[in-house]
């Protein structure tokens, strides 16, 4: 995707349960360089990330963290893209035979199909999606994300009080995927696997149409990332019997990539390679790139593509 020349500086924030990461980037020679990358740990008990509950347990401590974040990132006030973990934002893939023309009607249809998941959310839910029509035109697949309105308001208000205007909110797994999307081939059945500190996620594409999504918290069962990937892949194959995966594209910390790729290939019996970031972002070997900040970079990058 070509970038439009937009604002001179873009900001992305990745919120995890134990830390907030912020990046600020500028475009130089056709590439985005995120020279400012700040990680501020959250004091224990400050946040309790969840889909349908109060998330900011200690607003004062959270406010102090944001002030520290701004101070270290040399920010007074700014607009930023926020990416939240899958504890807060739910992501799923839905299939529909066809879609109405108007976005409002699509919204109604999606909400109706999600009514079982969202009926207990009395104060409302925000829903966002991206559509992928199948090549034969018989169905439309949608990547759907939803978040409880009060939870979103909690974060947006807290950042606004600190002088940071949140302009987009996206799931961190998709923000991370967007950074590496260019590495995943458009043809065949390709699995993208994102291994972050807290989660391992998988998106399966069939000829560039997302068919399956699963994310797994890393602290649920003992084991390393290979075990988690194996678990998710087996789940994926159980859900899609007869499916053959042609290749796995893994996004993970660069230090572990070479070792892990061969380990995955041997263990899973599927060709594996590690994904590389988009050419429009600084290369992994560049000191301006850091995998830990990739979700924040992906979120920031999305501002320019709105």
């Amino acid at each position: 995707m070509k970038l439009r020349s937009g604002s001179k500086e873009i900001t992305g924030i990745h919120l995890q349960g134990n830390a907030i990461r912020i990046v600020r980037g500028t475009r130089e020679n056709g590439q985005w360089h995120f020279g400012i990358r700040v990680n501020v740990p959250l004091p224990e008990g400050t946040l309790r990330p969840g889909f349908n509950r109060e998330n900011i347990c200690d607003p004062e401590a959270f406010s102090k963290v944001l002030e520290e974040l701004k101070h270290q990132a040399r920010i007074d006030s700014c607009s930023a893209a926020l990416t939240l973990s899958e504890d807060i934002v739910k992501v799923m893939i839905k299939t529909y035979p066809q879609l109405p023309d108007k976005p409002m009607e699509i919204d109604t249809m999606v909400r109706w199909s999600l009514s079982r998941q969202i009926r207990h959310l009395k104060e409302g839910v925000n829903v966002s999606w991206e559509t992928f029509p199948s090549s034969d035109g018989n169905e439309v697949l949608m990547v759907v994300a939803l978040a409880a309105k009060p939870v979103l308001n909690e974060y947006v208000t807290a950042f606004a009080n600190a002088g940071i205007r949140i302009v987009t909110v996206s799931p961190s797994v998709l923000a991370l995927f967007n950074v590496y999307a260019a590495s995943v081939p458009d043809t065949g059945n390709a699995a993208w696997i994102g291994i972050m500190d807290s989660r391992t996620s998988l998106i399966l594409f069939a000829n560039s149409i997302p068919r399956f999504f699963k994310t797994l918290r890393s602290d649920l069962v003992p084991g390393d990332s290979v075990d988690y990937v194996d678990m998710i892949l087996k789940f994926c194959l159980d859900e899609n019997p007869g499916l053959s995966i042609h290749g796995c594209y893994i996004s993970t910390n660069q230090g572990q990539v070479t070792e892990q790729a061969s380990k995955f290939e041997t263990y899973l019996g599927i060709p594996c390679e590690y994904a590389t970031p988009s050419r429009e972002l600084a290369r992994p070997e560049d000191p301006d790139f850091s995998f830990a900040f990739a979700p924040a970079m992906g979120a920031a990058w999305s501002i320019n593509r709105r």
Partner: protein, 177 residues
């Protein structure tokens, strides 16, 4: 592979750009209407001013009336007209009073079959039918009770089922009011 764009702050309501365009259109429309109204108002004002100016000029050009009336003379003319009207009224036959008097004299059981008015002799001849003698008697009493009517004569014929009658009535004081 294409990237996936999700923004949970964009709730798929009509876009702000669309809303902006709509507001802009309405602003332009209202400005246009206001401008047109101001233009029309100023046009009307100019036209009114023109009419007023022409009217003033034409008023100045009018020749003075050759007749001069004093207030006393005008009052005298009004009094003369009132007197003439009263003479006309005195000589007019008071149809309404007479008709009202006859109508008041009629009672149930009476059917009028004819009425002939002779203003010169100031008489009215009523012919009719009654189911019995009693309603005719009531009619005569009612006519006598009317100050404007007197009975000159009565002819009555009793048939097996009905009584026919003819009453000649003379009008009195018909020009008094």
């Amino acid at each position: 592979m294409k990237t996936i764009h999700i923004n949970l702050l964009d709730t798929h309501k009509p876009s702000s750009a669309g809303t902006g365009i709509l507001i802009g259109f309405l602003l332009i429309l209202s400005t246009g209407i206001t401008g047109f109204n101001i233009y029309t108002f100023s046009e009307n004002q100019a036209m009114m001013h023109d009419y007023h100016k022409r009217l003033m000029n034409e008023t100045r050009q009018l020749k003075p009336s050759p007749y001069h009336f004093s207030k006393e003379a005008a009052d005298q003319v009004a009094a003369e007209i009132g007197y003439a009207n009263s003479i006309i009224a005195e000589n007019a036959f008071p149809w309404m009073s007479v008709m009202n008097a006859i109508e008041l004299s009629l009672n149930p059981g009476i059917t009028l079959t004819g009425a002939r008015f002779t203003p010169r002799s100031e008489t009215i001849t009523l012919t009719g039918q009654a189911s019995s003698a009693s309603p005719v008697s009531e009619l005569l009493k009612a006519i006598i009770a009317q100050p404007a009517l007197n009975i000159n004569s009565l002819r009555q014929e009793s048939l097996p089922d009905v009584i026919t009658f003819q009453v000649d009535i003379r009008m009195v004081n018909v020009y008094s009011d």
